[in-house]
Amino acid sequence: MTKTLARWGGAAAVMLLSLGQPVLAAPVAGPAQAADMAAIQQQLNALRAEYDAKIGDLETRLKAAEARATAAPVATPGQAIASASGSASPPHIAPGDLAHSDLAPGEVMIADNAPEPEAKTSSANAMNPGVSVVLNGNYVATSRNPDAMRIRGYPLSDDARSKPRGLSLDESEITLAANVDPYLTANLTLSFGADNQPSVEEAYIQSTSLPGGVTVRGGRFFSAIGYLNERHAHNWSFIDMPLPYRALLGKQYGDDGVQARWLAPTPFFLEIGGEAFKGDHFPAGNPDKNNAGAQTAFVHTGGDINTDSSWLAALSYIHTEAHNRAAAPGLPGGETFDGHDALGIASLVYKWAPGGNPVQQNLVLSGEYFYGRQSGRFDGLAATRDPRGWYAQGVFQFTPRWSLGLRYAALQSLDTPILPIGSDFNGLGHSPRAVSALLEYDTSEFGRFRAEYTHDMSDLRPNDELMLQYTVVYGPHGAHRY
């Protein structure tokens, strides 16, 4: 009790001293000042003595705590310092005031909620997986009917179609993720499309403790080819995928399969991997063999240029086999393809942020080049086609919460002269291309509003498209990809 009083007294003296000092020191001069100096010196000495006593006390307690920690091999977290910060904490912080603890005593809070009782977790749900939910909503206005839109020369899968006009709920996603045991982690992503049909978007298990930098994954997942392919829709920089992804990979390629990756123990980033898939999704289709209908290989590398900027480069290859793959709603029964589809992708990403701190301002530039060969029977007629495409995009966050983006995407005109003029395989010498502009406003890391305008020249007649979208993510804090 006496000790506490003494401390309060000491603190009060110091406060008075420091508050009073400038007032006293300025007008009074000569001997009075000397007397003041002596008084100050005295108080300082007292203060020093008090500190020495406190520190002595602290050291004893620390030693005691250390002794206890050594006695019990598993140290209780927080135990060691409990005494240290307890004894030395300034007197004006009331001990044990945890309910209001995010407010300092006397701190003013504007428009804040009243504190709630402490959240308690019962053991029944303590092992629940992390649940994250993504919600999306769109408003789309287009100058042409999206149902009639084509990418000339490139028949589209259903997934790659344009978004419907008007107000609509876009894909909603629920992800359940947790470690299974010390060796495996698992992830399930259910998605609910605008058609109210739930589907399993991703469901995979992955190794966590293989030696040598190896990771193995199995189940249903998005392939790691390219830069954008592995990202879920809510992580795309623009509302929609660029033309080459829509035309050549059915928006993004995901399927049932296995994946192995190896991260090289090099001083720079180098990752090599490969996948084998069932081959049931565009550009593959209708697998009828025991072996994989799609195979991929990829190499990722990257590094820092300086503290402001970094880069990532990737080379990817995917080979798919299609059996009577139907695509495009243009003709009755769609356009069919029977054969092999090989595609190489070169990707380059550059990120810049002043001082490497992306919070205030940052810039992300990315581009990918697609180089493919399709050989087989197109609507029953044998042919070989070499699709080419690319896109380049930049998104600049010019001030916290606000970003601007620009994207240009193009595909080479792809003609298959032996097919009739009306076939979607026939490009008619037209080069599909589109230019998009984006404005983004983030309410936080978890809430986002975007507006995107696209002038789309993928069909013979251009289409103007305005898309407004909100995206929210709630649940545990998911870590962000590069």
């Binding site: 110091v14 406060m15 420091s18 300092a104 980033f269 990120k351 919070v359």
Partner: protein, 303 residues
């Protein structure tokens, strides 16, 4: 042809992998510069320390850059604040690094926040409260007294992972503790004029510093943690500061200076940039000069 290229690439990789130097016993991946500095103090030349961030980067928001993944791949130990400070980026790096030594829960994970008493534990968890951390406020490096228990635990962990050098780590820690205690005494005397002074903060990342120095936080410029203030909110803050004047408005080196300078200019209060961590200012070159500079800047603002 394709096979030959693959074989050549494989051989080149192998050579690179073998050529990687393994001089230091322990490879340390430190998420923040203060822990990199502490790891070097304790480990000396027995450890090789990589600091994943700099003093001018916001440790909440770091991009999972390829260079970080390759450094995490070869790490024996991560020294990262914990208490969810790095939750937005570290899990991705650990997953992609495919390094089982640093998977959450293993002995290759060292979190300084496990060894000190955390303040500001939220009563309830809801994102409407802003960027709050379930375990409590993670910015423990604000109080240099926290370095003592952390250094002790870190030396023990080094000794556990590298028993051959256990004696070195313990001796270096003991020497550090003596030197640090002397510095703590010196800082306590220097900081005496700050005790009881009212201050405003930009982000509430200074609770440990406030606790150490005994300064009194009157208000935060952020309405909620991690939520940037609107101009309307800052006007309300100015009203509060009229009634309850403060001596200074502090912010971290990595934070946008505009809100504190705006309010400081209107209220006639100095806006003080504090280094926050090693490398946050030109003067804060190591752990000692970090707190020297912090005190210097605060004492200067008091005058």
């Amino acid at each position: 042809m394709r096979r030959a290229i693959l074989a050549a690439a494989g051989a080149a990789l192998l050579a690179l992998g073998l050529a990687t130097p393994a001089a230091a016993a322990l490879q340390i991946f430190a998420c923040e510069p203060e822990w990199a500095a502490l790891a070097s103090e304790i480990g000396g030349d027995k450890v090789s320390v990589y600091a994943a961030t700099t003093g001018v980067q916001d440790p909440h928001q770091i991009q999972a850059r390829p260079s970080l993944i390759s450094k995490a791949r070869t790490a024996d130990l991560t020294v990262c604040t914990g208490a969810e400070l790095e939750i937005g980026w570290l899990p991705m790096i650990v997953t992609q690094s495919a390094n089982k030594k640093i998977v959450a829960g293993s002995r290759g994970v060292f979190q300084p926040t496990d060894y000190v008493n955390l303040l500001e534990k939220p009563a309830s968890l809801d994102r409407s409260q802003g960027d709050i951390h379930a375990g409590g406020n993670p910015h423990i490096q604000g109080d240099p007294r926290n370095m003592l228990p952390v250094s002790k635990a870190l030396a023990d962990r080094f000794a556990e992972l590298d028993p051959a050098n256990a004696g070195v780590y313990r001796a270096r820690q003991a020497a550090f503790a003596v030197k640090w205690q002397a510095a703590l005494n010196r800082w306590a005397a220097e900081a005496a004029p700050l005790r009881g002074q009212p201050i405003a903060v930009q982000h509430r990342s200074w609770v440990y510093l406030e606790n150490w120095l005994g300064v009194r936080r009157v208000i935060a410029l952020e309405p909620k943690p991690g939520v940037p203030p609107s101009s309307g909110y800052l006007a309300q803050v100015l009203e509060v500061l009229k009634k309850t004047p403060v001596k200074m408005i502090v912010r971290a080196a990595y934070e946008d200076g505009r809100p504190s300078e705006f309010v400081g200019g209107r209220a006639g209060v100095p806006a003080v940039m504090l280094p926050y961590t090693v490398g946050g200012s030109d003067q804060a070159k190591d752990l000692y000069s970090l707190y020297d500079d912090t005190l210097n800047r605060m004492l200067k603002a008091l005058k």
